[in-house]
C-alpha cells in the first residue's frame, strides 16, 4: 500500500534513525517538563489519556504499517495490559512489579495468538477476523465477571463495572508514595517518546528490514530464505507489548473496565493509523491526538453525535486521502518546493 514510502526510508542514511530517536526523546523530555506547568489539572489528565492512546496507535502503526498485519484486535492487548496491571498492583499492593507483569502478559498473549495465526499460515482478512474474535471473547468474558466468585487474589474483576479502585503508579519500591497526575503525565510522555525510539531502531535493524521486506512481498522474502512466520510473530509480539504499555498508562488516568476490549477502541486505533498515514510512525501519533481532540470537542456539541463526525471523517479519508494526512502532506510540500513542472 504505502510501499514506495517504506522503500524510500530504507535508502536514507542509517544514522537518521538514531537522530530521530534522540530528537523524539528530547522532545518528550521538553514536553514532560513544560506542559504540566502550562495545563490545568483536568486538561493534564485528558492529555495523559491522549498520550496513552498515542502509544496504542504507535503499536498498530508498527504492526500494520510496517509488518503488513491488519490486526483488528489491538485493543485485546491494550485491555489485557490494563487488567494485568490492576490485578497485579492490587495483589502486591505495590506497582513496582505490576508494570513488568502487565507487559509480560500482553506480550505473551500476542505471542500465543501470533503463533496460532502465523504458524497456521493464516493471512489477510482472516487475521483480521481472528484478532477481532479474540477481542470479542475477552470483552464478553470481562463483562460476565461480576460477583464475588470472580476475583484473582485480592482483586475483584468487577464485571461490567471494571476495577474502579485501580491503583496509581507509586515510586518504585515505596508502595506508600503514590505519584501525582503531573508525574504520571511525565511518565506517559517519556514512555511514548521511548516507544517511538524503539520502533525506529527496530525498523533500522536487520530484523526490521526483513519485516518490511515481508510486507512488500511475502513470497519473495520467503524464497530468499527468511522464515516469514518467525518475523511476523516477532513484530506482532513487539506491538502487543507496546499496546500493553498503553493499557497500563490508560489504567493510570481512567481505570480498567471491559470497554477497553470494546469494538469502539479497536475501531478507533485503526482510524487513527489510517488518518495519520499508514506506513509512517509519526502520522498515527499525530492522527490519534488530532482525532481525540476532535472527538472531545464533538462530545461537547449538543446537537451532533460524535460518531457521525468520526464516521464521516473516516469515509472522507478513505475516499480522498487514502494514503493518510502525513504522507499526502509531505508529498504536497515536496511538490511545492520543487516548483511547477517544467
Amino acid at each position: 500500500m504505502a510501499g514506495p514510502q517504506t522503500l524510500a526510508r530504507r535508502q536514507a542514511p542509517r544514522d537518521r534513525a538514531w537522530m530521530a530517536s534522540g530528537a523524539a526523546v528530547l522532545l518528550g523530555v521538553v514536553a514532560a517538563v513544560v506542559l504540566p506547568q502550562v495545563l490545568e489539572l483536568f486538561a493534564l489528565i485528558n492529555a495523559t489519556v491522549f498520550v496513552s492512546m498515542a502509544v496504542l496507535a504507535l503499536s498498530l502503526a508498527l504492526v500494520w504499517g510496517f509488518g503488513g498485519i491488519l490486526c483488528f484486535g489491538q485493543a485485546a492487548f491494550f485491555g489485557l495490559g490494563g487488567y494485568a496491571y490492576a490485578v497485579a498492583a492490587l495483589n502486591f499492593s505495590d506497582t513496582t512489579f505490576a508494570v513488568p507483569v502487565a507487559l509480560l502478559v500482553a506480550t505473551a498473549a500476542a505471542a500465543v495468538l501470533g503463533y496460532i495465526m502465523f504458524f497456521g499460515r493464516i493471512s489477510d482478512v482472516y487475521v483480521g477476523v481472528i484478532t477481532l474474535t479474540v477481542t470479542l471473547i475477552l470483552f464478553n468474558f470481562a463483562n460476565s465477571t461480576a460477583g464475588d466468585e470472580w476475583r484473582i487474589g485480592a482483586a475483584p474483576l468487577g464485571g461490567f463495572n471494571g476495577i474502579p479502585s485501580t491503583p496509581l503508579l507509586n515510586v518504585p519500591g515505596e508502595p506508600g508514595a503514590g505519584l501525582a497526575p503531573e508525574a504520571i503525565f511525565r511518565i506517559a510522555v517519556i514512555a511514548l517518546a521511548i516507544c517511538y525510539a524503539i520502533a525506529r531502531l527496530v525498523l533500522r535493524s536487520r530484523f526490521g528490514r526483513v519485516v518490511v521486506a515481508i510486507k512488500e512481498n511475502e513470497l519473495r522474502a520467503e524464497l530468499l530464505g527468511y522464515d516469514v512466520r518467525l518475523y511476523k510473530l516477532g513484530v506482532f509480539s513487539i506491538g502487543g507489548c507496546m499496546a500493553g504499555l498503553a493499557g497500563v498508562l490508560f489504567a493510570n488516568c481512567v481505570f480498567v473496565s471491559p470497554t477497553m476490549f470494546s469494538l469502539s477502541y479497536s475501531a478507533q486505533v485503526i482510524i487513527w493509523v489510517m488518518v495519520g498515514g499508514l506506513g509512517t510512525l509519526v502520522g498515527p501519533i499525530l492522527g490519534c491526538i488530532l482525532l481525540q481532540m476532535l472527538t472531545t470537542w464533538a462530545g461537547t456539541l449538543r446537537d451532533i453525535n460524535p460518531n457521525v463526525i468520526l464516521g464521516v471523517i473516516l469515509m472522507a479519508v478513505v475516499l480522498a486521502v487514502p494514503r493518510g494526512l502525513l504522507p499526502s502532506g509531505i508529498a504536497l510540500l515536496a511538490r511545492f518546493r520543487r516548483g511547477p513542472p517544467r
Binding site: M1, F141, I304, G311, L314
Partner: protein, 288 residues
C-alpha cells in the same frame, strides 16, 4: 423426550437466526469480495423501518416483509453509488469506509430516535411441545430461513440474472467482453444484499428489540459465520451457521448465554486454524 425436542427446536431456531442475519453479508462478500462492516447497521435500519411503519399503522407483515427490505435496499443502492463503487478491489479500504459508514449511521440514528429500545411484540404467541412451550415466532423464523435460502438458490441457479451474477463473480473481465457491465451487476448485487439485510433486521426486530447499537451485537457473529463458511455463498453460510448455531445454542443451554457466545467464537477460531480458507475452501468446493 419433550426436553430433547424443545432443545432441538431451539437449536434449529438459533441456526435459522444466524443464517438470516448472515445471508445479506454473504451475498455481498461472496459476489463482490467486499466486506460490508455496515451490515449490522443495515439490520438496524431494517428494524427501525419495521417499527416505524408498525407505529404508523401498517400491518406487521407489511413492515417486515416489504417496507424493511425496500428501505434498506434503497439505502444500499445509494451507498454503492457514493462509497463502494470507488473502492472496488481495495478490500481493506472498503472495510474501513464501511466501518466509517457504520459509525455515522449509529450516530445519525441516535440523533434522530434517541438511545432507547423500541420494538413491537412478536406475532403468533407460543406453541406447546409436551410440557414445554416454544414461541411460534421462532418456528416462523425457521420457515423464513428455509424460504430465503431456497429463494436465493433458485435465483442464482435458474434465472438469467443469476447466471450473469455467477459469471461476473467468477471472472468479471470475461463477463465484460461478453457484453455484461460488471459495474451494473455489482450495483444490483449490493442492493440485493442490502435488501436481504433489511429483511433480516425486520425479522429479528420483535425478538431483539430495536436500538441504534443493535447492529454491533450481530455484525461480529455474521462476519465470523461468513468467513468461516468460505467462498461458496449458500453452502458456506448454511454449513457455518448450522455448526456455529448448534454449538452456541447447546453451550447456552448447558451454561450461560455469555458462555454460549464465547464457545461460538472459540469454535470459529479453531475452525479457521484448521481450514484457513473456510469450510467450503476444503469441502463442497463446487457448491453454490
Amino acid at each position: 423426550m419433550d426436553l430433547a425436542a424443545a432443545v432441538l427446536l431451539q437449536a434449529v431456531a438459533g441456526v435459522a437466526t444466524l443464517l438470516i442475519v448472515s445471508l445479506g453479508l454473504a451475498v455481498i462478500f461472496g459476489m463482490m469480495r467486499v466486506i460490508n462492516l455496515a451490515h449490522g447497521e443495515f439490520l438496524m435500519l431494517g428494524g427501525y423501518a419495521t417499527v416505524l411503519s408498525v407505529r404508523a399503522g401498517a400491518s406487521v407483515w407489511l413492515g417486515i416483509l416489504v417496507i424493511a427490505p425496500a428501505v434498506v435496499g434503497a439505502v444500499g443502492f445509494v451507498v454503492e453509488r457514493l462509497l463502494i463503487r470507488h473502492l472496488y478491489g481495495r478490500m481493506v479500504d472498503t472495510m474501513l469506509a464501511t466501518w466509517g459508514l457504520s459509525l455515522a449511521l449509529i450516530g445519525g440514528v441516535t440523533m434522530l430516535f434517541g438511545d432507547s429500545v423500541s420494538g413491537f411484540s412478536a406475532p403468533f404467541g407460543s406453541v406447546p411441545i409436551g410440557r414445554f412451550r416454544i414461541s411460534g415466532y421462532s418456528l416462523f423464523l425457521i420457515a423464513m430461513a428455509g424460504v430465503l435460502v431456497l429463494g436465493t438458490w433458485l435465483v442464482l441457479r435458474f434465472t438469467r440474472a443469476g447466471l450473469i451474477a455467477r459469471g461476473t463473480m467468477q471472472n468479471p473481465d470475461v463477463a465484460a467482453t461478453l457484453g455484461v457491465s460488471p459495474a451494473r451487476v455489482y450495483a444490483v448485487t449490493f442492493t440485493a444484499g442490502a435488501a436481504l439485510s433489511g429483511l433480516a433486521g425486520g425479522l429479528i426486530a420483535p425478538v431483539s428489540g430495536v436500538l441504534p447499537t443493535m447492529g454491533t451485537a450481530y455484525i461480529a457473529k455474521a462476519f465470523i459465520t461468513v468467513i468461516t463458511g468460505g467462498a461458496a455463498i449458500l453452502a458456506g453460510t448454511l454449513s457455518a451457521s448450522a455448526l456455529l448455531g448448534t454449538v452456541s445454542t447447546v453451550a447456552t443451554f448447558l451454561t450461560t448465554p455469555v458462555f454460549g457466545e464465547v464457545v461460538l467464537l472459540i469454535v470459529a477460531i479453531v475452525l479457521l486454524r484448521l481450514l484457513p480458507r473456510g469450510i467450503t475452501g476444503r469441502f463442497l468446493r463446487r457448491a453454490l
